[in-house]
Each structure stands twice: as C-alpha cells, then as structure tokens.
C-alpha cells in the first residue's frame, strides 16, 4: 500500500499499527493520558488492565468509533485519522466489541455480513441474500461454529453462540488488523477453545496482526506474543510472553501500581 520507497538501511518492516501519545478525555475524566503502543506485523498483542483503565476506549479509537483528542495513529507506517468505523474498516481494521454489536432482529447470516452486506449492482443496492446464506453456511462450517440455523434471529442464540458469531464476523472481514475486546467473556470452555483456535490460526497465517483484551491470563499467555499493561491511562508494562511468566507479570503489575500510588501526592484523607 505504501508508495514511499523504503529508506536505505531500514530493513525492518513498518509496524502494523503504531500509537503515539494518544489521549482521550470524556468530560472531566482523563481516560487515556498518552498511550504509546506498537503492534508488529503478524503479532498478537495482549492488552490487560483494571476495569475502567481505558482498554475499551483505546480500542474504540483504533476502530474509528471514537476520535482521540491528541496523538497519532499510524497504520503500516502511514498516519491515519479515522472519523468513522467505516474509515477504519477501509484500512482493513475489524473489531469485536464487548457488547458484540449484533442485531437481535436479524438472522445469523445477516449479522455475519452486517456492514459488509453483499448487494447486486444498481442504485438501490438489492441484497444478495442467497450468496450471503451460502457463504455464511460454508464459513461457519469451516470454522466449526454451530448455530441452530443461519436463519435464526440473533435474539434466539445462546450467549456463547452470539459471541462466536461476533468473532466470526470480524475474523472473516479483517485483512490487516483485528481488535478483540474481551472476545471470550461469556463463553463456555468448548466455545472459548473454538475462538482461541480460530485466533491462533489467523495469527499463524501471519497476514493479520491482532490486539486482544482479556482478563483471563491463561488465555492471554496461550494466545499472545507480547503483553501490554494499561494502568491509569498509560501503557506501564511491555513484556514478551516468552520472556516472562504469569507470576513475574503479576509482580511487575503490583510494583507498577505501587509506584503510581506513591507518585501521586496523597489526596486529602
């Protein structure tokens, strides 16, 4: 995509995604205070942090749902600014949201193509339902996701099935970057395994770079190449998974949390 010639001496490819000094404020609340983050090509990056640390806000900036106040986002070395989800999608970025973003009244196959509906030529953009049905059936079979029927409305699916459809939608459409905001939250063991394998396959293909938010460290250690910790609106820890253990990471997080507390002047009481 980049038309600029690579400067001599820089053999390393551009990161898939780079975030520099991104801030976001909602009213009086400083949610992100300067995020610096790099996602390398083909890498799976885990993002952890307490509730309210700003993980979902960061994801929603990267996917174009929110816009940052300050700072830069670069995709493949090129500076971008997404004013809409559609703009991020045009750069090959797909997202699984915490709330899944499914439409209860639409059948499974329409949810799978939501925002990417296949249409026939013409100004009215008639839906090509048959093609969407066929592709949905085949795709869900391929990735071993089982639903009662692709005609069933999303409202009729179980929590785990809904989540699987939401993940399947993003995985199918992503061609550069996949953002997963707690993709395993409501899932049983079998369904979690399914999604983990799906993401691992995708990562192994090397064409997609992935950011995963999850609270389950066992999942993260299995899935990720690297883990970043988000605390107080900043990335405080950046660890390669093969160089650390769960215990080490936890200790790092606790000491970083202590530092933060000590760094802050005692507030009143």
């Amino acid at each position: 995509m980049s038309t600029q010639p690579t400067p001599p001496g820089t053999a390393a490819p551009e990161p898939a995604l780079e975030v520099r000094g991104v801030t976001k404020r909602f009213g009086a609340l400083d949610v992100l205070r300067g995020i610096d983050l790099v996602l390398h090509q083909g890498e799976v990056l885990g993002l952890v942090g307490d509730n309210g640390a700003g993980k979902s806000t960061l994801v929603k900036i990267l996917c174009g749902f929110h816009q940052q106040d300050e700072g830069q986002v670069m995709v493949g070395g090129k500076r971008v600014r997404f004013n809409s989800v559609g703009a991020a999608r045009a750069h090959g970025i797909e997202t699984v949201y915490q709330d899944l973003a499914l439409i209860p009244q639409l059948p499974v196959y329409m949810n799978l193509f939501l925002g990417h509906e296949l249409t026939r030529l013409g100004p009215l953009r008639f839906l090509d339902r048959r093609k969407m049905r066929d592709l949905s059936r085949k795709y869900l079979d391929d990735i071993n996701v089982h639903v009662p029927s692709i005609e069933a409305e999303a409202a009729q699916l179980s929590g785990g099935q809904r989540q699987a459809i939401a993940v399947a939608r993003a995985v199918r459409a992503a061609n550069k970057i996949l953002l997963l905001d707690e993709p395993l939250a409501a899932m049983g063991a079998r369904e979690s395994r399914l999604i983990i394998d799906l993401v691992k396959d995708l990562a192994a293909s090397g064409r997609i770079s992935i950011i995963v938010i999850d609270h389950n460290y066992a999942h993260l250690f299995e899935l990720c190449d690297r883990i970043n910790v988000l605390q107080g609106g900043r990335i405080t820890i950046d660890q390669q998974v093969h160089e650390t253990s769960l215990q080490q990471l936890t200790e790092l997080m606790v000491s970083s949390f202590r530092q933060q507390l000590e760094g802050v002047p005692s507030a009143g009481a």
């Binding site: 973003a101 439409i103 329409m110 939501l114 509906e117 009215l124 953009r125 839906l127 069933a152 409305e153």
Partner: protein
C-alpha cells in the same frame, strides 16, 4: 400443524390484520349487502384508507428506528398548498409539484437533522414542526379556502393520474407501499433501518452510518406524505387551511400498530401498515353504512389498536424466548 400456524402468524405479522379485515369485510357484506360492495362504498373506504396508508408507510420506517414523525400529517396537507402557491406564482404545474415535493423532503431533512444533531427527541421535533407548518398554512392562505387546485378541474390523463380518478389515490398508496416494502426487506438501506432500530450502538459499531439512515428515513416519510397529499388535494379539488394533520398521524400510527409494527424499533412491516389503513377504512365505511354513528367507530378503532398492540408485544416475547428452532 397448530404450531406451524402459530409460527406463521408470529413471523408474518400482516396475517392477523388481513384475517381481521377479511372478517370485517364479510360481516359488512352480510349486514349491508350490495350497499357495501358497490363501487361508491368501496371507493369511500379507500378514501378513508388513502391518507392514513400514505402516511403510515413512511411512519413504519421511523417507528422501526424507534423514532416518530408527528408532522407527516401536516406535511400531507402542506404539500398541496405549496404546489398551489407555486402555481399561482407562475410556475408550470409539473414544476410546482416538484418544488412542493422538494419542500416536503426538506421538511423531513430538518426534522431528521434536528433529531440526530441536536439530540432533540423526534417526538418533540416533529410535534413542533407540525405546529410550524400549520401556522404557515394559516398565514399564507390568509385563512381562505383555495379552489380549484391545479389539475383538479381537468379531465385529461394527468388529472386522472393525479387524483380525479376515484381509484388513483389508493393506487398511489399501493405503489408507495410496494416501494416501501421492497426497500425495507430487499435493500441494504432496509437492513440498515432494521439494524439501527434494533441495536443503535451495535449498528454504529458495525460501521452503519446510523445518523444518515435516520435523516434519510425522515426525508422519505415527509416526501411520501407530501406526494399523496398532492393527489388527495386534486381528488377533493379544494384546500382547507383549517385542517389539522395530527388527526391523520394518530390514525397512521394506529395503522402501523394494527399492521404488526412495535414501537420499540427493529421490527415492522410496511405491507402490514397498508393493511392496517385498509382495515380502518373498511371499519369506518362499514359502520357508517350499517347506520352506526361515528362515535362507535372511534371506540372500535381504539379496541382494535389495543388488541393489535397486545398481540405484537406477546409475539415478540414468544420469539425472544424461543431458542433457535
């Protein structure tokens, strides 16, 4: 077998009002005989149903978005006034109609933009717009009736097409019903309406331009109401500045509900709304013919609306509870 029938009624919401309408039709035919089935009676039923249906088609799209347009009835009355003024100002008929339709579309755009940009609930935006349009008609008509309307005193094809043929108004309504139904069930825009109404945040997260979908739906609702409003005026041949559009809106929302549209968003049918309008028309015409007073008509319309809404809500609950079969 029984289950299959239940499923059919669950997902084909139009079936219930069709059955009721056929029942009413049979009842009035038995009670009033050929008085009910002759052309004059049926065309007057269609005359009641026409304005209601025209407004209900656009209103369904908005109700599915969990929005409402209370000004569409006034737009229906306003459009022919604009056409009349433009024609008096020297514009040819076709051009004055086009200007009137553009103005209606513009009213819808204003409704939509105020609703999505200023976050004013559409109930309030369009209620205000209703009064504004009513006031504009009173001001610029100097509270005098207007007659004749362009085309209303002609006998050529264009006059017949635009309203003087007794079936032309209901024909237009049937046309826009088919257009609305195709739009809603077969096009990407229709899917976007269902998605936006069914899960606003989710739709936005999935990249659907939810505000644009809403604004265009307001535009469409006003445009369709204005279009049939012009035909309606040609049909009657005169304009009355004192008419108040909210009456139409109440019937139109009633027709949508009778047709199977819930007001919670995400679920609705355009064809159902048309059938709801026909049901109201048949009821009004039939009751008049068998000598029941208008007062009874209101009671019956109320009963039918409550019955239909209770069914809609129960049907939705059954669907939500059934785990994929």
């Amino acid at each position: 077998m029984g289950l299959r029938v239940l499923r059919l009624f669950l997902y084909q919401r139009e079936l219930t009002p069709i059955v009721i309408t056929i029942g009413l039709f049979a009842y009035f035919t038995v009670r009033a005989g050929s008085n009910f089935t002759d052309q004059l009676s049926l065309s007057s039923a269609a005359g009641y149903a026409g304005p209601i249906g025209a407004i209900a088609v656009g209103e369904v799209l908005l109700l599915m978005l969990a929005e409402i347009d209370l000004s569409a009835g006034q737009v229906f009355l306003f459009a022919p006034w604009v056409e009349y003024w433009m024609h008096n100002a020297g514009l040819p008929i076709v051009l004055s109609i086009l200007v009137a339709l553009a103005v209606c579309g513009g009213v819808g755009a204003v409704n939509g933009l105020i609703t999505v940009r200023l976050n004013v609930p559409s109930f309030v935006t369009t209620l205000a717009m209703n009064f504004i349009l009513y006031g504009l008609v009173l001001i610029y008509s100097s509270m005098a009736q207007a007659s004749p309307i362009p085309l209303s005193d002609g006998s050529g094809f264009s006059s017949k097409l635009m309203g003087t043929w007794i079936w032309s108004e209901i024909g237009w309504v049937l046309g826009i019903t088919i257009f609305g139904a195709v739009l809603l069930t077969r096009t990407r825009f229709g899917t976007r309406i269902i998605a936006t109404g069914g899960n606003l945040i989710g739709a936005a997260e999935a990249g659907i331009p939810v505000r644009r979908v809403k604004v265009w739906s307001f535009v469409l609702c006003s445009f369709l109401a204005g279009l049939v409003g012009i035909v309606d005026a040609v049909k009657y041949g005169s304009l009355d500045p004192g008419n108040f559009g909210v009456d139409f809106i109440l019937y139109a929302v009633g027709a949508c509900v009778i047709g199977g549209t819930a007001l919670t968003g995400g679920r609705g049918t355009v064809i159902g709304a048309f059938i709801g309008a026909i049901l109201i028309g048949v009821l009004e015409d039939g009751l008049t013919l068998i000598g029941v007073s208008t007062n009874d008509f209101y009671v019956w319309v109320g009963v039918v609306i409550i019955f239909a809404m209770a069914m809609n809500v129960q049907f939705d609950r059954i669907i939500a509870r059934s785990r994929g079969t």
